[in-house]
Subunit: 205 residues, 2 copies
DNA sequence: CGACAACCATACATTGACGAATGTAAAAAC
DNA sequence: GTTTTTACATTCGTCAATGTATGGTTGTCG
């Protein structure tokens, strides 16, 4: 095959990743061959093995397009008055996260990671989920501890417990929605749940 | 090979299912061959193909050993005074469910279904999870509606919303614990979360 | 304006899992 | 006691997927 220009080569790389997302989501990671991915992108396996060493490498590249640490969601808001309103910061961060998840690429990749892949090669999706969970839980705990210091939490509720409650609820919602996103809108439903949960946490709930 | 007695044959069938559970949990369903299952049970693939038509059939048989509908958990309690205390009924049902999950067989099979298998053959684990989720959510809604009629819920909280909140929280807890059960005890941690959530729901929280 | 290396297609070798066919020895049935 | 069936073990053909080696253009850089 003839050599492509650098931009064209980068485009076929993205096309391969797009095709992988779509097929992984439908057939699962284990049951999709590199041949199917290549054909769906209008290429052959040669292109795949040029851009990626193997399926695990391709999988990692797919994940790297959608990294979304929790801290980024808060910084993304950029409101400087949030240090005194940690509960509102959590609310806005959830909103920001939900809106991102509605973008097809984010939704698909997270659905694949959580619901459509097993361990394979040197990839351990459960370990990745553990990292994500611990990171978000830690961030939530920080904000709720801050809220507790400011007296914005019920006195009979420890911030650690509230953080775990909220994190479990968010995780459950996340899983449910990723299982089939057509059942409900995660922005609408999620914000209703987050707001009622936070109002139950707050002093004058 | 020599023929075994009926009891011995049933025992090897169970041994094959036990072996499948253990290996599925470690290597994932897709990456374990029937050969590995048979060898781990001290048999060969011939035994597997005698007792099961194929891998999907074996998988279904594995699931059938641990069916646990939500309603059963309530009936299992058998306390007749529960019609007037629906929140307590929910609490006890959660306790009963948590205790069951700590039994290795239940824990392993659910972990496999949720975290260690993709679609394969005519098996769709996500559809099964959907059924489980809708069933438990429906049951929770019934109990919380009952609680609302009895005036045991905060007036500013609809029972439907409370049910979704609780169901999401339980689902998140469920997923987190099944991901690695050594992180915490689901009976202890789960009951703390359920009780605080229910107390936040109740009128004099 | 060459020469090289990038970009991808094609062909080939290897692996390993499945499923079916067949063998067999003992338990059940009569 | 003979026959039949059960409960496996063994073997083998097939096929799909992987990985590698190789070839052929054509951008791109000195």
């Amino acid at each position: 095959m003839a050599r492509k220009t650098k931009a064209e080569a980068a485009a076929t790389r993205e096309a391969l990743l797009d095709a992988a997302e779509e097929i992984f989501l439908v057939k699962g990671v284990a049951r999709t061959s590199l041949e199917q991915i290549a054909r769906h992108a209008g290429m052959t396996r040669g292109a795949v093995y040029w851009h990626f060493r193997n399926k695990a490498d391709l999988f990692r590249a797919m994940l790297n397009r959608v990294r979304m640490p929790f801290q980024e969601l808060v910084e993304e808001i950029g409101d400087p008055g949030l240090a005194e309103a940690p509960l509102e910061a959590v609310r806005l961060a959830c909103l920001s996260g939900f809106e991102r998840l509605e973008r097809p690429r984010y939704r698909r990749v997270h659905a694949i990671l959580i619901h459509h892949c097993e361990v394979f090669g040197d990839i351990d999706p459960l370990a990745m989920q553990n990292e994500m969970a611990e990171e978000s839980c830690g961030a939530l705990r920080d904000y709720l501890q801050c809220a507790a210091r400011l007296g914005q939490l019920r006195e009979d509720l420890s911030p650690e417990l509230a953080a775990k409650l909220l994190q479990s609820m968010l995780g459950g919602l996340f899983h449910d929605w990723l299982r089939n996103h057509e059942q409900f809108s995660i922005v609408e439903q999620g914000m209703v749940l987050v707001e009622t949960q936070l109002s139950l946490f707050s002093r004058q709930g």
